[in-house]
């Protein structure tokens, strides 16, 4: 068990002055150096009258020093998730000063990053007051307007202590490496505050790419990764490869992780991926390690229930500072006070690659544009989760469209949104229609809107290398000789063919297997295969073993031109799933 300390006592508890607080580039920040930075920030912060200060500091260690400096100066930090014009307007309304990496001309008093004082002596700090209003974060409210969520030091402290009591002993002094920004609550808690109370070093720079993460991990005895489904889903790796470094914990949050990516991460890092479910408003709620148990388990002291009418997840949490049940915007199936499954959002807040976005607010912003007559925004999930727009153009918009074309219109609208939304949530697919698809009641049903994007998805998914819900992932494909092709396929559980076939045991239908064989035969042998119209019959088709979701299979296809047929076999080592022949009638070829 490593010693840990409460958040209020991080600086007041005596400690080894040369202990490492953070790693920055090739240097380290010691406890003593960190305390000096806190003192420097406290001094500059005390010169400002403002009580609430907007903070943006790119370096996580300097950010932590700024935060503690502001707290010791009696200030509250409003975390700016980004520096978009719309965010800056929000800050203007809510803060009296800004601190950190901001431009000079923002129209608010600016607390600059204080100069380094190499001769500085770290003062002794008293404990912080737990009732102090520590942090305010802005998040998308259901109405579309950003909502300010205030959090006290006690709440932040209790949450990191909750995580420390569960995982602290397991990870010991492992170095914490993150792919997420500390300017958001998840990164703040896991990349900065949790390492600080557990006295474990954290990497000051955000590691955007897998290569940076691994290079960091190789330099330290053991490491913790703080990441998201966005990163785990796109982690470059070879089949069966394992990560460099010695990993004691891999945490994923901001959105549920697909089972496939949880499986990958657990194998790759050699430690089960731990997911945390929570929100800015409620703090941490639950955790799970999908490879062991798909159901979410509440964090210590949290209880859940559902609202009978809506299925909304209700919770009681020590982090909320009262015994009241609080309703969330998530729909859930609850299996007892401590276990539940998530079913989706109840409101029009979408999670786009882990970022919360109000579809309502995006619609209202678009509707203000002179080119737009009527508009709906939907969330789609394919290769990535994304927003997509169905719009009816105004007269002005139509004229612009006729002269400049669709891309110019949509680019213009994207720019219109860009000051208000982070780039990853900006719409990537647009359908400009004459009228919104309405049903007999005059309503615009969600499925009619999403259906407008399905054709394109089908087209895209028709290309072989795409991850999709209609095709397997092609892990490998090669021609063994001129007439024999071998493919290695992975069948994601998300494949549409598993749905309802069957509810009890999902299996890949035989007809789909045959369809895929024909598809890949055409892809591999091209024109050497007979015209599709010349299809004659199937012969000796056998389906021996069931193909279940998540399975990998090898598909062997032999072309026998002399018989105008292909012979196929689906297997995995010794397990034979299916085999057969597909015969084409050469005499029909001209038809």
């Amino acid at each position: 068990m490593t010693e840990s300390t409460s958040l209020m006592h991080v600086l007041s508890t005596p400690g080894e002055p040369h202990a490492v607080v953070a790693l920055r580039g090739n240097t380290v920040v010691t406890r003593q150096a960190f305390a000096c930075r806190v003192a420097a920030w406290q001094r500059v912060a005390e010169q400002q009258a403002a009580e609430i200060v907007g903070v943006f500091v790119e370096d996580a260690c300097e950010f932590a020093a700024a935060l503690f400096g502001l707290w010791y100066a009696g200030k509250t930090a409003l975390l700016a998730g980004d520096r978009l014009p719309a965010t800056m307007m929000q800050l203007q309304e809510r803060v009296g000063a800004l601190a950190g990496d901001f431009d000079d001309d923002v129209g608010l008093p600016l607390i600059r990053v204080p100069a380094l004082d190499p001769a500085g002596i770290a003062p002794t700090f008293p404990p912080l007051d737990s009732s102090h209003l520590a942090v305010i974060v802005l998040t998308s409210g259901t109405t579309g307007a950003p909502k300010a969520v205030p959090t006290s030091l006690a709440q932040l402290g209790n949450e990191v202590l909750m995580h420390e009591s569960r995982w602290g002993a397991l990870v010991g002094r492992s170095t914490v490496i993150g792919t997420v920004s500390h300017q958001h609550i998840y990164g703040l808690l896991w990349r900065v505050l949790w390492p600080l109370i557990g006295r474990r070093p954290f990497v000051a720079e955000i590691c955007h790419y897998a290569e940076e993460v691994l290079a960091r991990a190789e330099q330290v005895p053991s490491a913790v990764l703080v990441t998201t489904p966005t990163h785990l889903a796109r982690w470059p790796h070879q089949l069966g490869e394992t990560a460099a470094g010695n990993w004691t914990l891999v945490v994923s949050s901001t959105a549920p992780l697909a089972r496939e990516h949880s499986a990958f991460g657990s194998g790759y890092f050699g430690v089960l991926v731990t997911e945390i479910f929570g929100s800015s408003e409620t703090g941490g709620i639950a955790w799970r390690q999908q490879m062991k148990d798909e159901v979410w388990t509440t964090l210590d002291g949290v209880k859940v229930s559902t609202q009978p009418e809506t299925g909304a997840l209700l919770l009681q949490s020590p982090l909320l500072g009262s015994d009241d049940w609080v309703m969330t915007g998530d729909q859930a199936e609850v299996y007892g006070p401590h276990r539940f499954c998530l079913l989706g959002r109840l409101d029009r807040i979408a999670k786009i690659e882990g970022k919360r976005v109000s579809l309502t607010s995006m619609e209202s912003r678009l509707a203000e544009h002179p080119h737009i007559e009527e508009v709906r925004v939907v969330a789609l999930s394919g290769q990535r989760t994304e927003t997509a727009v169905v719009a009816v153009l105004s007269e002005a918009g139509r004229q612009w469209f006729e002269v400049e074309g669709k891309r110019a219109v949509t680019k213009n609208l994207r720019q219109w949104l860009a000051g208000h939304f982070e780039t990853p949530v900006l719409p990537r697919r647009w359908r400009l229609v004459d009228a919104l698809p309405r049903n007999a009641q005059g309503k615009v049903p969600q499925q009619h809107l999403t259906a407008l994007f399905e054709n394109a998805e089908q087209n895209r998914f028709g290309s072989d290398d795409c991850v999709s819900n209609r095709w397997p992932i092609v892990l490998k494909r090669e021609l063994l000789d001129a007439n024999t092709a071998l493919l290695r396929l992975r069948l994601l559980p998300e494949l549409v063919y598993f749905r309802g076939h069957f509810d009890e045991i999902p299996v890949l239908p035989g007809v789909v297997q045959v369809h895929w064989v024909e598809h890949y035969a055409r892809a591999m042998f091209g024109e050497r295969l007979a015209n599709r119209h010349a299809f004659s019959r199937m012969e000796v088709v056998k389906f021996q073993e069931l193909i279940r979701p998540g399975r990998e299979v090898s598909m062997e296809i032999s072309l026998q031109p002399e018989h105008s047929r292909i012979v196929f076999r689906l297997h995995d080592g010794d397990i034979a799933f299916s085999s057969g022949r597909m015969v084409f009638d050469a005499s029909q070829e001209s038809a």
Binding site: C207, E211, A215, D465
Partner: protein, 90 residues
Amino acid sequence: MNELKVELKKLVIDALELEDITVDDIDSSEPLFLDGLGLDSIDALELGLALQKRYNIKLAADSEKTRKHFASINNLAELVASHESARGEI
């Protein structure tokens, strides 16, 4: 080199599932991210993955370098070409 650039443009469009855009719409020197083609941080991850799959290129553990390589089709083409020639020498 020009063939490679066309191939890379196609790779960008396919790997990132871009709509309403063809190879001809992408200028080899225009920035791929933000103001240019408008790609984002998730696209950067996808692109890294696609480069690894197609050309077996591993990115440097240095986001500054990666940012430079990803700046435009021209830079990407240089990265791929230098990688290919390095492999050819072995």
